[in-house]
């Protein structure tokens, strides 16, 4: 009875239909893992958006575990079955090869592939069980204690505890260089591992390099930047000492935000010099709600007082870097398995004479009929055309146009609110950038910032030709001006309605606003006072205001 079960199990595992089903299911799971938003993925909001826009599909996806496909039961069962089938097939192939004394040698190719796949699947399982990864952001001069708690993010395998380094490790220096254009050219860190009896071990670890510490591999990626060491004294209480890690924004600029003790926010910006060295000072803009309380570049050791009370001191701007640690006990098994697969594919397809390429020994297969798949050619042509059609670039939907306009307005409104024109770099072309620099500058010169809020947006039309996109919108806005330092409102609040025409241009695959104009004369909610406030909306008016201001300069 026992032998029959094993025999029927083996026949099941090596039946062509089951084998094809295993490979097809693993392939479809992989496609799902890319097309269907995955929980905890790099782009995590996609799943939240799906739940919002298509709740029924999201619920079904959750029930079928499509949103965590590589940890789903059905995927793991398919992999386990594939593993079992491969085992059965490999044993058979070995027997047949020995029986035929490796003549012909052809089947050895298939055997190497299948044994290699077995080892790769085994390695993946070992990694899931015994591997570990951890990450932490470290400042220059900072020492990590030899505990697992020292690491901010831990991803231990199922059967192992979180990762730790046996000895304290110090990040001595970060050596970063940038190209003239501002892109990162090289990054290396110097790590000092405190030894017990032996002298401390020091290693320079560049990107793509690593330092091995008793089976744990330490390495760095691209994530680094200046850290603003800020002591913030609120109106009352003890000062708060924080290291604000500035993240790379664009070119040589790094940005971050730090919450203040009395509800303020400090928007920080540090730029490394052309050689890539640490910034000598940090741009600091302190906001409270929509009010810009103070804006200045603070040098190391300098203190600025905040009009609403309290003070802020910059103690230093060392570099920080994201340090990674990983333990892969199964690494060599994976590489050996992969080499077997590569050897097998090479043997099977390149070393075997052509005539035998077709005459594959199929004696062991139970299924003998020949599938005479008459592919209706027109249907295949439509399918191919449809597939290629998918990749052709489609007209911008009003949703896409809306997204572009919203992105522009959100960033520009924030730039006016903070008096920080550099924020708009990512959404405007050179023309619009120059104009906004002038308009925001005029505001700052008058000691004001503009607090604006879009009340409604309707996209009336969107027309695209190759690298140009025109979007016609109907918008309602509310504005008021605020005095820098106190945030007090200046003049009346105004609600205006516009029909705007946005001229987007494609700059290296990004749609940026090249210019905007009024499609129809704007309706202002309030009568312009003696100081006609220059604003991005009142384009014609503002431009002349900016120019007249320019012209009026001595």
């Amino acid at each position: 009875m026992q032998t029959i079960n094993i025999h029927s199990m083996k026949r099941f595992l090596r039946s062509p239909a089951i084998i094809m089903a295993e490979i097809v299911v693993i392939t479809l799971a992989s496609v799902t893992g890319v097309v269907y938003p995955q929980a905890g993925a790099v782009d995590g909001e996609a799943l939240a958006q799906l739940r919002e826009s298509l709740p029924a599909l999201a619920a079904l996806g959750q029930d079928l575990a499509l949103d965590r496909v590589f940890r789903s039961v059905w995927f793991l069962v398919a992999v386990a079955l594939a593993f079992a089938s491969l085992l059965v097939v490999a044993v058979e192939e070995v027997r047949r090869l020995f029986r035929t004394r490796f003549r012909p040698f052809a089947p050895a190719g298939g055997l190497f592939i299948h044994v290699g796949l077995l080892l790769v699947i085994l390695a993946a399982a070992l990694k899931a069980l015994f591997g570990a990864e951890a990450t932490v952001d470290v400042l220059e001069g900072e020492t990590l204690p030899p505990t697992s708690a020292a690491w901010a993010v831990q991803k231990p395998g199922v059967l192992v505890s979180p990762l730790r380094i046996a000895n304290p490790i110090t990040l001595e220096t970060v050596d970063a260089h940038r190209y003239r254009g501002g892109d990162l050219q090289s990054l290396a860190v110097r790590l000092r591992l405190a030894g017990d009896a032996t002298a401390p071990r020091v290693a320079d670890v560049p990107v793509n390099g690593s330092m091995d510490v008793s089976g744990v591999r330490l390495f760095v990626g691209h994530d680094y930047g200046p850290a603003a060491l800020i002591e913030w004294q609120g109106k009352v209480g003890e000062p708060a000492k924080t290291a604000a890690l500035l993240k790379h924004e664009r070119g040589r600029r790094f940005e971050g935000v730090l919450a203040g003790p009395d509800g303020e926010s400090a928007y920080l910006r540090g730029s490394v010099d052309p050689a890539g060295n640490r910034p000598a000072g940090i741009e600091v803009r302190v906001m409270k709600g929509a009010a810009l309380l103070s804006t200045s570049t603070v040098r190391i050791g300098e203190t600025i007082t905040i009009p609403s009370g309290g003070s802020l001191t910059l103690h230093g701007a060392p570099f920080w870097v994201r340090l990674h640690a990983s333990r892969d006990p199964e690494l060599w098994l994976f590489y050996f398995g992969f080499t077997c697969v590569l050897l097998g594919v090479t043997v099977r397809f390149t070393l075997i004479p052509l005539p035998r390429l077709a005459a594959v020994p199929v004696r062991t297969l139970s299924c003998k009929h020949r599938v005479d798949a008459r592919m209706p050619q027109p249907a295949m042509l439509f399918a191919l055309a449809g597939l290629l059609g998918l990749t052709a670039c489609s007209r911008p939907s009003s949703a896409e146009a809306r997204k572009l306009v919203e992105r522009y307005n959100t960033v520009v409104a924030e730039a006016y609110r903070r008096g920080d024109v550099k924020l708009v770099d990512g959404v405007v072309g050179p023309n619009e950038g120059k104009k906004l620099t002038g308009l925001i500058g005029v505001h700052l010169d008058m000691g004001l910032t503009l607090d604006s809020k879009m009340l409604s947006l309707d996209v009336l039309d969107a027309k695209q030709s190759k690298d140009h996109l025109q979007v016609l919108t109907k918008e309602r806005w509310s504005y008021c001006d605020r005095r820098i330092g106190t945030g007090e409102q200046v003049g009346e609040k105004s609600e205006d309605a516009y029909e705007m025409r946005y001229f987007f241009k494609r700059f290296d695959k990004e749609w940026l606003v090249d210019r905007i104009e009024f499609a129809t004369p704007p309706q202002f909610g309030r009568e312009p006072g003696t100081w006609a406030i220059a604003h991005g909306r009142m384009q014609g008016h503002a431009a002349s205001q900016a120019e007249s201001k320019e012209a009026a300069k001595p």
Partner: protein
Amino acid sequence: MSPFAWETTLHWSAVALYIAGIVGVAYALIFDRPGRRAGALGLAAAGLLPHTAALALRYVHVGHGPYMMQYEVLSSNAWIAIVLLLLFLWRRPDWSPLALVVLPVSVLMLGFGLFTNPEARDLPPTLRSMWLVFHVLFNKLAVGAFLLSVAAAVILLRKLAGASSPLLDRMPAAATVEIYTMRFVGFGMVFWTTTIGAGAIWAHQSWGRYWGWDPIETWSLVTWLSYAILLHARLFFRVNARATAWGTIACFILSILTILVFPFVFPSMHAAYFQP
């Protein structure tokens, strides 16, 4: 002339020579003038000279290999596909109809690349690794081999449809064409497997894990598994030559989507990590 002007001139001279080669091969084969075939292929081979010079100039100009911008990726893909084609035709002159598929597709690839952004991008530290060179080189070889398999599949379909002409009759029988189709698929699988392997080693080096289900990693696995499905379907169910040909074409389209389209559709570590 600026280096870029030289690059552009050399690239378009190569395009002109390739097109002349296509016309020559078509004329030689359709009007059964075998004597003209060698000359036509010679024109296509001559196109490789300015094309090689343009790629070399680009290398000097940007300081790294062709793997940052579509402009240089497509040009080098086309170059490798044409070199593989000419090498094969040098050994198998009777197969020159392959040129009527491979040359036009390669010229289209090159032409499309020349209209994309030619900006010189600096090489980020992550990409300064020997494993990247293997990863990219074998990826281009795989595209070339798969393109040859598609050309053979197209010819196979024409033969199976009963088409007859001096062009096709000079070619081997359908059964042999089917074997060659699978041989090209096989070479492509060797190169594609190496690409995945080199990519895994490089990813472990710079991202600390050799496999992370990154969209482009996953699509390259899906492409690999699709070819495996084709192999096993032929093996287990002995699908006929027509299905083999259509399967080869479908898998080729998936490989092109994986390399040239999906990196711009799916947010992935591949794109995000190139130039922060």
